[in-house]
Symmetry: D2
Subunit: 337 residues, 4 copies
Amino acid sequence: MIVVMVQTATKAQISMVESRMLSLGMQVQHSFSGEQHLLIGSDGSPTLGQSLEAMPGVERVLWVRQPYKLVSRPVHPEGTVVWAAGRPIGGKALTIIAGPCSVENEAQIREAARIVQGAGGNFLRAGAYKPRSSPYSWQGLGEQGLALLQAVKQDTGLGIVTEVLDPRQIEKVSAVADILQVGARNMHNYELLKALGQVELPVLLKRGLAATVEEWLLAAEYLITAGNPNVILCERGIRTFETYTRNTLDLAAVAAVKNLSHLPVLVDPSHGTGKWQLITPLSRAAIAVGADGLLIEMHPQPEQALSDGEQSLAPDKYLALLEELKHIAAAVGRELP
Amino acid sequence: MIVVMVQTATKAQISMVESRMLSLGMQVQHSFSGEQHLLIGSDGSPTLGQSLEAMPGVERVLWVRQPYKLVSRPVHPEGTVVWAAGRPIGGKALTIIAGPCSVENEAQIREAARIVQGAGGNFLRAGAYKPRSSPYSWQGLGEQGLALLQAVKQDTGLGIVTEVLDPRQIEKVSAVADILQVGARNMHNYELLKALGQVELPVLLKRGLAATVEEWLLAAEYLITAGNPNVILCERGIRTFETYTRNTLDLAAVAAVKNLSHLPVLVDPSHGTGKWQLITPLSRAAIAVGADGLLIEMHPQPEQALSDGEQSLAPDKYLALLEELKHIAAAVGRELP
Amino acid sequence: MIVVMVQTATKAQISMVESRMLSLGMQVQHSFSGEQHLLIGSDGSPTLGQSLEAMPGVERVLWVRQPYKLVSRPVHPEGTVVWAAGRPIGGKALTIIAGPCSVENEAQIREAARIVQGAGGNFLRAGAYKPRSSPYSWQGLGEQGLALLQAVKQDTGLGIVTEVLDPRQIEKVSAVADILQVGARNMHNYELLKALGQVELPVLLKRGLAATVEEWLLAAEYLITAGNPNVILCERGIRTFETYTRNTLDLAAVAAVKNLSHLPVLVDPSHGTGKWQLITPLSRAAIAVGADGLLIEMHPQPEQALSDGEQSLAPDKYLALLEELKHIAAAVGRELP
Amino acid sequence: MIVVMVQTATKAQISMVESRMLSLGMQVQHSFSGEQHLLIGSDGSPTLGQSLEAMPGVERVLWVRQPYKLVSRPVHPEGTVVWAAGRPIGGKALTIIAGPCSVENEAQIREAARIVQGAGGNFLRAGAYKPRSSPYSWQGLGEQGLALLQAVKQDTGLGIVTEVLDPRQIEKVSAVADILQVGARNMHNYELLKALGQVELPVLLKRGLAATVEEWLLAAEYLITAGNPNVILCERGIRTFETYTRNTLDLAAVAAVKNLSHLPVLVDPSHGTGKWQLITPLSRAAIAVGADGLLIEMHPQPEQALSDGEQSLAPDKYLALLEELKHIAAAVGRELP
């Protein structure tokens, strides 16, 4: 932590800041940059340190150390492989998770599962509990949806990825899911993260709509410090001024997080773009940038979908995408499942 | 809902879109804009309609109607007054809610309450449960904090505003609070909103960091449709590219929401700017723009605060602010409590 | 400037960074924050310093000093008053500049001027050269528009504020204008700024759509270093994810810039919101936050405007606004012209 | 154009809107969505239409048609190939433009050219005129820089890509350059675009920091309507809340623009990320998403660069990148030059 004093700071002001830093248990060094006095302390609690900006003579506080620890790349330099449903996520083989936005009925989810399985896929995604912006939008089948996922799982052996919205749902969802998804709107729901830190199932943690890379990694840190090291990150686009796409898919963040952290990182080009026409090129780009896999919305009949049809691939386009991905995967030393 | 077809759309494609719209229960009219065919339907479910973008020949779907209903201004053209702790929020008298970011200890919260009460204030704000970006930051006193708030409430008669993070906390927090605060990071936590729709206590709903005005109003709609009409909105800044301030306080949204909705709207200039130096001018502006009151971080000793000291007013500055506000309030036909 | 080394930086790497800093003419001090080595130099050229991030062992470069100098508040602690057309901008009296987006024809601009003058205004705004997003949109009357402005100026004595888009227009526009406006889209047009630094006429410098406060002040610094100290800043909204308003008016930036700089600051609520319904409340807020005046689009018949009608006040609403502003101005110790 | 009336709109209000639309030369149809009256007109001038929002009873105006025409994909469905220095841009072969941010001295630019040429490159990029945020940053060598580029061009036969900031520079820069670059900060500089529409040299048009895809395409439309069809687009990152990277590289916009327009699109991962460590993965992703080539900052000694060293590849990393790109290019049916 570096406290930058204003040029006109008095000795008394500098002395008071030093005292406060010492009282917070920091060691303090003094330095100068041009005519501005600097007080340099070992990085303690960011929170406590930030309050120093309330002291007279302080211009601002700069931070040296990144606030996350356990997710940092140096903790596992070789990268973490998370196992779910007996399959590795984060190794040489890419992970492809596909399926509809939500479980709508038995025929729909069975057909979706059949397509995923037929294409050699390992994981089926579909929501039973849905976080919808409007109370008037369809809210998902809930427990009935979980039951349908359970049935499909038994029949096909596919791993199941489904969302959990609330700590009170964890037990029920865990009985069916192989990976518990935390959606973008819940990335900052720290009570949910703490509760998910107490289960063993892998958690797929989507980046929040307005979350910085640092905040995203800190959300993962919540899960790990609470006891669950099985964390998979997922970039799904951030909110920007551009409205042509639903979100702005931040593939640089994927490359950055692969450098900063040892955790596997997937990409969701469906939410990332909001347009089915863009899923294929962005899937190619995601694999090329170094993602460990994809989360793709695929629906047997997108135009009839109860949600997200506009950003779901039809089955034929999904199969064509997988074909294209083989070549990209090979070009970066990866392979399809 | 208006479905815009591409210029090259075939009759068969138009016919299929019409069929799908009819099957969703819409009446359909046809029109043209230049050379593009339009299908106009009564606005049904936005979700189902959006999936029409997956159909061949469809360029995009435009929406006519705003998706919120119960929060709309025409429902209560004269504006809603919410009552909490026997005081009106949304009437001619402005509401000033002040206090520290979090309850830190008995001396601190008693001193804060003394200052608020001494200045003629009605409501004390302070968090017992805190949503922190880092698991290593101080997480609040929890139940012990609630007990301290309860004690202060009994001694001073101040109304208590404090945050609830999780449906499992609602019962405990409701035993102490007069207004339940939903923080910006939980505005999209729809399970929490549904649960809060089942209590009678007023809910202070902060705008999410990246929430549009429409999404913010839809979050309020969740509370009302679930049974709780006592909703108070609070603008607290949105996340933009500007980093000089912690957030960008969107005062135009306050004026807009006062037009669009009948709900009272407060402004939080502390989170909105992240700098104590900017609280006073932005408080003046908030009242001038038409806000129904303020939510202000005030701490007996900001530089010693366990959180948010840099965006808290010291007591002397808080008192000076109230003095300034008297004049602004009068200029817009309002008054201080 | 502070160079933060990675924890694993070697002595050789630190030594090379130090050498490079010395070769750039900096004095270098060493310090530590936790286990990270810091090299602290006097702030030299930000550009040269930033390239140090390309050296092995360097994590990143932090900056201590703000890069602007002549615009800084300490240079003129009492604040600068810019004079235009014999009227002060930045003093106790507020500046109200009003008029249509563009000069459309003689009748329109004469009528607009009549209204501004009748309401006691000093400055008429209207564009002869218009920067339009589309080549198919109306591009303004050009020289013919300047001639009309000249005629109105002679008849009414109003000061004229009009935009200059290109260094080649400066001479012609200067023959008519009392204040040369640089629009948001040209704030980063440094060749234009350098050219405007060589005239004496005051320049109204709008903030760029995506410009930080620092970049905005640096743009002003371009004008002053080039020789023109008569700079008036104007906040007109920044581009964010919110689409309900055309831009997000950043009133906190106004308060911030009044602290950071000695230059006068105006606010443009027309472009800031894009909706005529929001001009009045945001004008009140702008004065309350501490702005030195307003730039308002007012059109004799907004619905017939060739541009920006949707964000222009009709004459009766303009007169009503001025009435409201009297009270707000008085509440903050200012007065209308 | 669709004018949406408020639910309470009167017949007289609807009639007045219709009259105004007819007076603008539109044909008008009437329709309904739910209880809201719609007036549908052929899309005329967006500007004139927008002013209808100033009329009583109008809720808002929706647009049907995209405002750009000549850049649209249907105009040249097969895609445009732009020729510069005898080399095609936009065909099967990718275009790689590399070199330092700016010409610093003869040795530096000769060494950069030697590396580019040695690696089989066709185009050297380097700025003689530089748009810098601060007047205190190095502003480029100007004419002397152009002379050095001319010398290097004669010796190596490389095509030269260099920036033009101002209409007054076009003649001089055109004498040396094979492609004229318009930087992000000048994308909205419509006077510059109009002037560049009158030369024959290809123009590389970077996307503005806060420009939507639509505005970017409209800027290209300015060039073509003014007479220059040789336009190359370049995505270089947009400004968002994320600060870990300098900008947010919007690769979905590249895929979108390849659908919407027939123009070739390059990607600049140096400005797009601001970090040399991210150039390689984002270059791979750019080719995978469908870009027609790359614009890469490469400097013989990045740590000594007078500008942008932190986002420049050192020569060895540049050569390694080209090796990687061969595989990605092959995977998407493209090839390196």
